[in-house]
Symmetry: C2
Subunit: 271 residues, 2 copies
């Protein structure tokens, strides 16, 4: 028995979600993975709720056209707005990066004092705060860190500028204010070392990419959908500029993307 | 005689072009100005050439529906790709931020050693380099500075991080390598002080926003299109999230946007 050989679909507004694909590949090496980065319309965070839901539906429809057995919403903006709509419309399991990160933070937190960092759009949506409070946290502190994305894209992840920037943004989490901190943006795992150095040992960092991979594994196991002895094939799709995605993508992926990267037009997946 | 009272139209992919509107308002205080920021589709820089041209055409059609007498292309990505198409399709003068910046740099440069900074997309387009070489420059050095945009948006324009970042990005322009430097992105005028401090007195900074305002004035004067005693009215349009545009916009504008900011749907201006 090789189990369910259908691929897992992962989508993001851009290439940051490749950190999620990387974490899924580490935890579930046999699974075939299909990635969609909507690079023509990145970022989703500055767009209205209605627009983001529409885009997320198109992304998911594209992945389902590739016969995926589950959909991972790696994009925080889509996960903050579209989970209910996606679950109502599609029959496969839909796993979101925000719910997974919150669950993991509650599991590792000793005192229930949770911090979360993300883009302005993610923090402004209030979705992390709402879910964390629903889970009974003692306190929640959130902070937008907009410079972290370009720092990660530049590869400036552990120089003095990254350290100084982290020291400004992470000040609200110092002196025991939180005991765990959710990295609520797909780009942030690249800065994990610097963020950890600034926060110190008393704060446990929650890498949303790894958290979503763990939740995916649980869901596939429960639904008897695991692929036990597959080949771990990869297919990457972007909606604009494959050259650029190729150049930056390997930094997020932690390996070469090879020649499995294709341009796709989502027009036919619009409703 | 009050001259030609029709407004001047200015468009950008986002809110950065408000630095251009500000410069135009300073130089031509009587003119009525209409601004369009295509915030639903920002940034243009990561999109394909064909897509940017299509968007630029929609932006210009919207402005012409407001009866503008001239169109200013404040967006570097649009100015790098769409000037010929815009001029072929529309009868009003079309002024682009790149041509204006290059002209100004050649005017102020003593030795013809020109530098240019911008986003990855602008620098990668090669448009500045091509125009500068056509004008007979001795040498051209260009450098992408992607962190400058979020620094400007955060208001971190003269702190230690801005200074350290500028020192890394501006290294190619040191030690007499250039005598003038074009700020080839609408966000960069906010960092003018820090960039000037790092480059030193031997490098003349060319603020593209001011350059395009001067070129616009020349063009309107030559075409007998100046408004001599108008009211200097303002109307701002964005394609998504007016609240966000309002919050960040005043920093770029250098004044309050008031209640003249409206949401617009460009759908009807598509071809």
């Amino acid at each position: 028995m090789s189990g369910d050989n259908r691929p897992i679909g992962i989508f993001d507004s851009g290439i940051g979600g490749l950190t999620v694909l990387h974490a899924v590949g580490e935890l579930l090496p046999a699974e075939n993975l299909v990635y969609l980065g909507d690079t023509a319309r990145v970022p989703y965070g500055t767009k209205s709720r209605e627009t983001v839901i529409r885009y997320a539906m198109e992304d998911a429809r594209f992945l389902l056209s590739k016969n995926v057995k589950a959909v991972v919403v790696a994009c925080n903006s889509a996960a903050a707005t579209s989970m209910e709509t996606l679950r109502a419309k599609f029959d496969v399991p839909v796993i979101g990066v925000i719910e997974a990160g919150v669950e993991q933070a509650m599991n590792v937190s000793a005192q229930g004092k949770i911090g979360v960092i993300g883009t302005y759009a993610t923090i402004g949506s209030g979705r992390y705060e709402t879910l964390i409070r629903e889970r009974g946290a003692v306190s929640v502190i959130s902070q937008a860190c907009p410079l972290f994305v370009p720092l990660a894209e530049e590869g400036w992840t552990d120089n003095g500028i990254a350290m100084d920037t982290a020291q400004i943004y992470l000040r609200p989490f110092m002196d025991g204010a939180v005991d765990s901190l959710i990295l609520g943006c797909t780009h942030y795992p690249l800065l994990e070392k610097t963020i950890g150095a600034v926060c110190g040992e008393s704060v446990t960092l929650v890498n949303s990419a790894k958290a979503v991979a763990m939740r995916l594994k649980e869901t596939l196991t429960a639904g008897n959908l695991l692929c036990v002895s597959g080949e771990g094939k990869r297919a990457y799709y972007v909606t604009d500029s494959p050259e650029r995605a190729h150049a930056v993508g390997s930094r997020f992926l932690g390996e070469e993307m090879g020649d499995n990267l294709q341009l796709v037009d989502l027009m036919e997946f619009a409703e």
